[in-house]
Amino acid sequence: MMAPRRSSESELHAFVDGELTADERAEVEAALASSPQALELVRDVREINDALRQRYAGRLSEPLPPALHKPLARLGRRPVAPFATLARWAAAAAVVMAAGAAGYGARGLLAETRRSEAAFVTTALGAHTVYVPEVRHPVEVKADEAHLVRWLAKRVGADVRAPALGSLGWRLMGGRLLPDQGLPAAQFMYEDASGRRLTLYVRKETGLNNTSFRFHEKDGFGAFYWIDRPLAYALSGRLSRDELMNLANVVYAQLEAQEAGKASGGQAQ
């Protein structure tokens, strides 16, 4: 090459990094043919980049550690956070007062809560296992019918939304309305390219306190569930706990972001 050695080395890096114009690329390609040393450098740099991506690829798909859940949630919830916090304190205070008044009655209250949460996730997982194997009628209303979400939101009586999981490879198939102890519940079903199915089950919940993610597993099916009043959610599938957790994180972040957008008069659809 005509250029002095120093700039030529930088040029080789720029070649690998896609920083050159078409003309410059052609020049470098021609130079590579006659310089084994230059070719070696280009190969090595590519190999280093491949090795880096391979080494740290896990970070892109693994679930977020618990320490990051808080900022992630605030990322969606910020405009309403002070009120939510206040409400939570009030609820906590009410529990403490009730516990103080009723003595060890608090233990009963807690057990009651656990039972209700268990009932919720059991129903959600049950609905999952019933409808997921359906070949011809997996959903009641297909995703391409615009009124799916509007209809379910109206029937459930709350702002129910179907998160977009397309970027993770999950296509929304549609949804259905279900009875849950006499209350209407919504189920959204997703499918990935390999035919695996995932459901998000949503029901109104005003009796129980908000919870963080909880995991429930039965017969190879797993479900992450959480309560974010006025709604309770369960994300179910025959997936590894990690994969399900990752999806739950994304669903949660999206719902929170939409909620916050709505609260601040944003443009959530």
């Binding site: 890096h13 090795a51 880096l52 740290y56 798909s61 320490a67 405009p79 972001a257 944003g266 959530a268």
Partner: protein, 172 residues
């Protein structure tokens, strides 16, 4: 604001990947990410529309990292692997196993490591990298060349048994 928040949330896995490779330690990396998110959150209103979220977040992360280094420099020096008796003398057969790569990266200067990772791992352009690190593009290029040259030596890419390595390449 909604779309901004979603954009920030979507970048978290990449930020974590970079922080882990940069710091070589899971706990420290996630501490840095937590701080980055907190600061991003506080500055969300200042984010101009059209700003690239990735560049913006990596800049925040970088500044926090530099602040952290300044604070740390007053503490006792970092205990290196060598002083813990970790054997560095025998690179594994393929020279590219994960631990070797982790280790080799940590032997680069911090400045070299940043550019090698931002360009090679995260795929940022030279111009974006220059903005994130707040240095001229020419500096990005020289640090990149030096950093990669060091990695080649450390990973035994240069001057090693070329025939042996070539066959390994084919096996891979």
């Amino acid at each position: 604001m909604t779309t901004r928040r979603e954009a920030v949330a979507a970048e978290i896995p990449r930020l974590r990947r970079y922080a882990r490779a940069l710091l070589g330690d899971d706990g420290e990396a996630d501490d840095l990410i937590q701080d980055t998110l907190e600061r991003a959150l506080a500055r969300l209103p200042q984010w101009r529309d059209g700003d690239n979220p990735r560049k913006w977040l990596f800049s925040i992360l970088h500044n926090l990292h530099v602040d952290g280094l300044r604070r740390k420099s007053r503490r006792p020096p970092h205990v290196g692997l060598e002083s813990l008796g970790v054997d560095q003398s025998s690179p594994s057969a393929d020279g590219a196993s994960g631990r070797d790569l982790d280790h080799a990266l940590q032997l680069l200067s911090g400045e070299q490591r940043q550019v090698v990772l931002l360009v090679g791992l995260e795929g940022l352009s030279y111009a974006e990298t220059a903005e994130v690190l707040d240095i001229p593009v020419g500096t990005v290029m020289s640090r990149l060349a030096r950093g990669r040259e060091r990695l080649r030596t450390l990973m035994d890419y240069e001057g090693g048994d070329r025939n042996g390595r070539a066959s390994l390449r084919r096996v891979k």
